[in-house]
Symmetry: C3
Subunit: 145 residues, 3 copies
Amino acid sequence: MSSSDAPPPEQMAVVLTENSADKLLPFATLVSGAVALGFRVDVLASYWGLVAFRKTATASPPSVSPGHGEDGARLESALKAPRAPSWKSILEMAKSIGELHIYACSQSMEILGLSKDELDPLVEGVTGVATFIDRTRSASVSYFI
Amino acid sequence: MSSSDAPPPEQMAVVLTENSADKLLPFATLVSGAVALGFRVDVLASYWGLVAFRKTATASPPSVSPGHGEDGARLESALKAPRAPSWKSILEMAKSIGELHIYACSQSMEILGLSKDELDPLVEGVTGVATFIDRTRSASVSYFI
Amino acid sequence: MSSSDAPPPEQMAVVLTENSADKLLPFATLVSGAVALGFRVDVLASYWGLVAFRKTATASPPSVSPGHGEDGARLESALKAPRAPSWKSILEMAKSIGELHIYACSQSMEILGLSKDELDPLVEGVTGVATFIDRTRSASVSYFI
């Protein structure tokens, strides 16, 4: 994308451990905003964040996290509206316009008994946590979600 | 506050997506500590983090997040004690002594059907996620809560 | 550990507010990976993150956070397997090979009514939030868990 003397892009690192609608939507929007601004974004999908990328999960809208009563029910129904944003399509669009790299955490894969082919193609590989930290050590923004 | 040749203050960026007492109190304390140290703090209130700033919500102490059994009950009752810290008054004090800027996430406003005048005056405006990332790209500390 | 003219190590700052298995394991793995790469890691244990270090808590494996149905049950049972990783032993190993410093948040200690001798020896002291922010202001990576 860039000539060899261009400076490397700013980088954002995200460790994603959640799979509720109220985390996946701000996650996808953050990532997408960063990509649009020219950031390279690296995501480590871990535990529930990895479960979120299971093919069977990405086929339907995620649930709202428990304990939010009436507000939770209202959000749940707003997210079922025909024009409601889908976290997965926001990520797909971000990946098509810029540098978004999503990795599955190897420890979580093992503990949850998941294999790479059960995961959505948005996930480009499996990696260890130390490799992820090393790859993102110069990131200017880091989030644990 | 500063003369034109003073360096810009260190910056902290916080994306807040929670509204339980056990997140709002550490959030308010972190923000307040950073402001006291001279940081400029920018907060994006998103999803439950936005719900936390609804006027009706800031009028009473927040609940403890579910799933904490006996410990949760003990914390809930400790937070109802007369001299218990209030996350909102911690933020108000921080705002009165330094640079604290709280914005409502425009996507969350729309999905949750909220309008600016339903929010506590601590929220100074509505902004998109990309604008927030751009405004905080040189922050030295970033937290997703 | 280092001679006086060596540059200070890269630093990671973590504010830990959770005590479920699905947060403590990625937390311990992140910290351990960072220590292995030569980072100095400073942790502020706050609210449930402090409860996680209560001696009585570190004696048994933590629960999975609520609201995860069948997946939650599967994770819970995977973590009870004989060779399942223990978040506490991952931290102990990290501390034995590098610079890991865990502090209890003083505000949380007071609100939860805990005293230092009720905490696991992994916690080396009690500190305020402002002191923690000041001590980690030059950290290159910061996470709120």
